[in-house]
Amino acid sequence: MADYNKPIPSPDPYVTQPFWDGAKEGKLMLPRCTSCNRVHWYPRILCPHCHSSSIEWFEASGEGFIHTYAVQNRAFGGWADETPYATAYIDLVEGDRMFTALRGVDAENPESIKIGARVKIEFDQADEDTYVPYWRVVD
């Protein structure tokens, strides 16, 4: 934790707190609308699909697939030490998409990374309260 030198998101207590609470316990918590039963990401105070305000949080599988990716050859701050590293949009098994820095890939060989590859979530402790989600290729 002490050596986490990347930007640390500042959670807002009004909308996203359940995610960050779950992250602390190693769980991926996702918001789901109880009216239309669809998952959405990022978290909101109303469902972007049906505009209901009935949102519940549930523990998701923490599994997904690479939708698309890129390799960051240039970066700043704490990320400058990591180049090249891969970033990706992840299709969640439960629906919708998250952004991440990918683990378990060879960023020196971008073409070795496969769209559709299966990934699992993991969390890095960034400070006392914040655990940042990352996704790792598992096959």
């Binding site: 990401w41 990022y42 240039r74 952004f99």
Partner: protein, 403 residues
């Protein structure tokens, strides 16, 4: 039924700030705005005080005050590089509604000078808001530092989904550089204008520094200082200026998302919808267009947009530039100023699209300053598409020559 605003207004003049590109002695966004507005009024032969509507991405009111204008219509729509296409759309509606007769759309942005001024190069203020939900889970925590970090994901997906190649997209940069060779004000016009200027090959693009795979340096636009402005006037007044009108036959805008987290299809933009609206207003289609000005913040932006505008089949956007078709002397000229890739791109490039489309359709693209022999095309119609944000929001115009 409200009346169709098609042809109820025209762009009657277009001009730039005194200097554009890498302005070594430095400048400010405000200076670039004011120079451009002064110049466009001089070209049209009017006083700035005759302007009734002021359209700019931020602080249109500040520009109006500076120039002693008391505007009847103020619009500060600011959604990225396509904002200027949208300003024209909004001004067209205001003119068609009879609220104003003469409007200016202005742009000033010191993308280059901002580095030494330690500002952000625009008229925007700072912000101290807590992170929005989208920001907490967007690129920030993962080191994404700007548009290249994000746009690269779209190119990866396009290659996967449609079987396109880096070479296909690199060729867009090559053809665009050919046009820069005919524009003496283009940053990359020649070795005289910039040590990296002059013609390039597909191999040069592939060999240039990798910034965010799969985007090489030459897939990415310049970051310059640039100001520009266009004047709009109602149909009744459009022929009362020193400069000729270019008619606004159609206009449309749309948005698919703001943060790339919400981009449903990474190989499509809202230009499909904004161009459909513009074509419908004009009573024309892609087959009626004789040239195109397509926002090229990246080669992938231009390639995908060509598909969205109906100029190529889906998945084959880069083919618009193939076989010399879009090159000087080709049958469908594209980005005849040299594009954001090789002419100038301050951050929000949409104004430069407008100015060049005006020059081409008014027959002034080869005036020796903004173009030399070979740059003027015979096109009488153009589709002009701006793309803003992270492939997020688009504005499309269909413009036609005065006949």
């Amino acid at each position: 039924m409200p009346s169709n605003p098609s042809m109820s207004a025209a762009i009657v003049a277009a001009a730039e700030s005194d200097k554009i590109g890498y302005i070594e002695e430095g400048t400010t966004a405000l200076n670039l705005h004011i120079e451009a507005i002064r110049n466009v009024c001089a070209e049209a032969g009017i006083s700035p005080t005759e302007i009734e509507g002021v359209f700019a991405t931020n602080h249109a009111n500040m520009l109006a005050e500076y120039l002693g204008i008391h505007p009847k219509y103020i619009d500060t729509t600011s959604v990225g590089g396509c904002s200027f296409q949208m300003h024209v759309h909004h001004a067209l509606a205001a003119i068609n509604a009879g609220v104003i007769d003469i409007a200016v759309v202005s742009h000033g942005e010191a993308g280059f000078s901002a580095r030494k001024n330690q500002g952000n190069g625009t008229l925007r203020g700072g912000g101290g808001d807590p992170w929005t939900p989208a920001a907490q889970f967007g690129g920030g925590p993962y080191g994404a530092w700007g548009p290249p970090s994000y746009y690269a994901h779209a190119l990866t997906r396009h290659m996967h989904q449609w079987g396109s190649t880096k070479e296909d997209f690199a060729n867009i940069a090559v053809v665009t550089r050919e046009w820069a060779g005919l524009n003496p004000r283009a940053v990359m016009h020649s070795k005289e204008t910039n040590k990296f200027g002059g013609p390039i090959t597909v191999q040069d693009v592939l060999d240039s520094r990798m910034i965010v795979w799969p985007l090489n340096l030459l897939d990415i636009c310049l970051v310059t200082d640039h100001g520009g402005a266009v004047l709009l006037a109602s149909a009744e007044k459009a022929r009362s200026f020193k400069t000729p009108p270019v008619w606004i036959a159609g206009a449309g805008e749309n948005q698919s998302h703001a943060d790339m987290l919400e981009m449903d299809d990474f190989t499509a933009t809202s230009a499909h919808a904004s161009s459909e609206a513009a074509y419908r207003m004009a009573g024309m289609g892609p087959g009626d267009m004789e040239m195109a000005m397509i926002y090229d913040s990246f080669t992938v932006t231009a390639g995908i947009t060509a598909e969205m505008l109906g100029l190529t089949p889906r998945g084959e956007g880069p083919s618009l530039w193939a076989d010399g078709n879009a090159s000087p002397g080709g049958k469908f000229p594209v980005n005849t100023n040299g594009g954001g890739l090789s002419f100038s791109h301050s951050g929000m490039y949409g104004m430069m699209l407008l100015i060049e489309a005006y020059r081409q359709l008014s027959g002034t693209a080869e005036d020796g300053v903004h173009g030399i022999e070979g740059k003027q095309t015979s096109a009488q119609s153009a589709v002009v598409n701006g793309t803003g944000g992270l492939l997020s929001v688009t504005g499309t115009l269909v413009l036609t020559s005065d006949v």
